[in-house]
């Protein structure tokens, strides 16, 4: 197991503690109160989320993490208004939200760019919906496109872009509406490791410079610890809040911190929460291998 002695993930340096104190003084941007979601299926009622409550402060970066099937996506869809909660409410700046709206921008894993619109016109979509005229919308869109470094591709169609570029367009499109919170549903899940690392750095850069609160869903533990101020850990069946972790890794973050003791300690804690040790036989999830190579084989053992 861990040969190195790690500090507790609860231990915070004075600077980090002081930062969290200040963070909690900020106004509450998003508040979730007793949120539950049940689905009717032919096999009865399934509780996807049960009694979820938490708060997000202004310009905070919160990651939601949990084992598959814990209702992460249901949670973010409820926040976006794409689903209606069975019980409970979502408040944005103290106002109850109902239905989807441009005040909560969303970035999906599947990019969801409009294939018939160029990059520029994709970013203009929300502005046009907001009643902006074509000329000002175009001007504004170009600023956002420049911000994500895609000016050269403004007139390209989505199918001409790489996955990372598509996701940058999707982020620019969501930000162009100047939402109060940015909801991101495993946005980098489909990208290769290198592009993903680059995108994480871009996102941190955007977050630093824009008045935006981010709620970010992921199943990648490194990604969660690297990006988040706080991590909301969900438990599956039914989806419940298991713990809200204050990440002790100091801000601003950099890739060198991946091996710092605070980082590893937080990751270890997440590992324990999400993959609790359990006997393999219990879930029937194991192979039944026997040796099928002859004893006289040229390669006697792979080791």
């Amino acid at each position: 197991m861990h040969a190195i002695e790690l500090p507790s993930y609860l231990e915070q340096s004075p600077e980090v503690r002081e930062r969290f104190d200040r963070l909690k003084q900020r106004p509450v941007r998003l508040e979730v109160k007793g949120l539950s979601k049940e689905f009717e299926t032919p096999h009865g009622t399934v509780t996807a989320l049960k009694d979820i409550s938490f708060k997000t402060h202004k310009r905070e970066f919160v990651c939601v993490i949990g084992a598959s099937g814990c209702g992460k996506s249901t949670l973010i869809r409820l926040l976006a208004g794409l689903e209606t909660p069975t019980r409970g409410d979502v408040f944005l700046d103290g106002q109850v939200v109902r239905g989807p709206g441009p005040d909560r921008g969303m970035v999906f894993q599947g990019y969801t760019l409009f294939p018939w619109r160029t990059v520029k016109r994709n970013v203009m979509f929300g502005l046009e919906m907001g009643g902006r005229g074509r000329m000002p919308a175009e001007e504004e869109a170009m600023q956002w496109i420049e911000l994500v470094g895609l000016t050269k591709f403004a007139d390209s169609y989505p199918h001409q872009l790489s996955g990372g570029m598509k996701q940058r367009v999707a982020i620019a499109r969501a930000l162009a509406n100047q939402p109060r919170i940015l909801l991101m549903d495993e946005p980098f899940g489909a990208l290769d490791a290198q592009t993903r690392a680059k995108m994480q750095a871009y996102l941190m850069e955007i977050w630093k410079n824009i008045d935006i609160t981010i709620l970010f869903i992921t199943h990648d533990l490194d990604e969660a610890v690297y990006l988040a101020d706080r991590i909301l850990v969900l438990k599956a069946h039914p989806g419940e809040v298991q713990e809200l972790i204050e990440v002790p890794v100091p801000q601003p973050r950099s890739p060198e911190q991946f091996l710092s003791p605070e980082f590893l300690a937080t990751k270890k804690r997440l590992e324990e929460l999400i993959h609790p040790p359990q006997p393999d036989e219990a879930n029937g999830d194991h192979l039944n291998m026997v040796r099928m190579v002859s004893v006289n084989d040229d390669v006697e053992s792979v080791f």
Binding site: A80, G81, L82, G99, P100, G101, P102, R104, G105, M106, F108, G110, T112, F114, P115, W116, R117, F125, G126, E128, M129, G130, Y157, P158, H159, R173, A174, N177, L183
Partner: protein, 318 residues
Amino acid sequence: MQWFAARKQLSSRPRLILAIMSFVLPILTWSLVSYVPWLWHPKVEITEPGDVSYFKDGLLVDKDVFVNEAARVSEAGGAMPEGRPANPIYLPAPHEVVTAFYTAFTTEPKRRNEKWLHESLWSSIQVIFWGFLISSVFGVPLGILAGTYDFFSRLTEPFVEFFRYLPAPAFGALAVAILGIYQAPKIAIIFIGTFFQQVLIIANTTRKLDPSLLEAAQTLGAKNHALLFRVVVPGILPDLYKDMRILLGWAWTYLIVAELIGTSSGITWFITQQARYKNFDNVFAAIMMIGIIGLTIDMLLARLGRNLFPWQRAGARA
């Protein structure tokens, strides 16, 4: 080179050769049957009647009739009839049909009130055009609405599903009774044949639109009619266009039945008339003209489609 690899595309040269062969092979078969005297040729064309009283120059008789008559004449010691193997009149040789492509247009109609071939063709194209247009004016919006809103889907589709099993030609007599005997009932048959399929096909195409695009649009502030006109409609346009091409092909298949209703008209009238005069070369030419016009229109529309929708992935359909 591998000629038979499952789900693998051949390189461009063999593909072109095979495409040409797909036309050459049937034409070759036809030519063989037409020009090689010992292949099929069940008839004898009389070149010299001899002493057979009813034989005339150019008459077609069955082979065994010719053999019997020849045997009878030779017994009686009369002048022997002569002839050469021939195919039945309903199978003209390729060159005759090719010539007919030209002569059919230049031959004057037998009666003064009858139409030239180009006038008949034009009349057929008009029937297709109006039938398809009227169907689309109602069918496309209804299909899109049914594909987008469950309300319209439930309100229309069960009935449409039932109605599309009623064969369009069955409405012929009714159409004549209501709309008279000229073009209107023919257009109505094309309409009935197209409309109900159109609603269902377009509703299905609309349902295939990625629902996450609608969700994304909603989180960007799109509502109701903006969702319909700014997301659904542009999103399905390329597939809608493809559907329309297929549906137009079906409309052509209803043409012949439609034109038999009331006073026979258009290309169908030409075909039946020429068959009556036993000008089967003209009949074949006219049938092929329908195919050529249909294929040409479809290829033009396909080419146009590639330019209309530049966001479609290039190379997906070569």
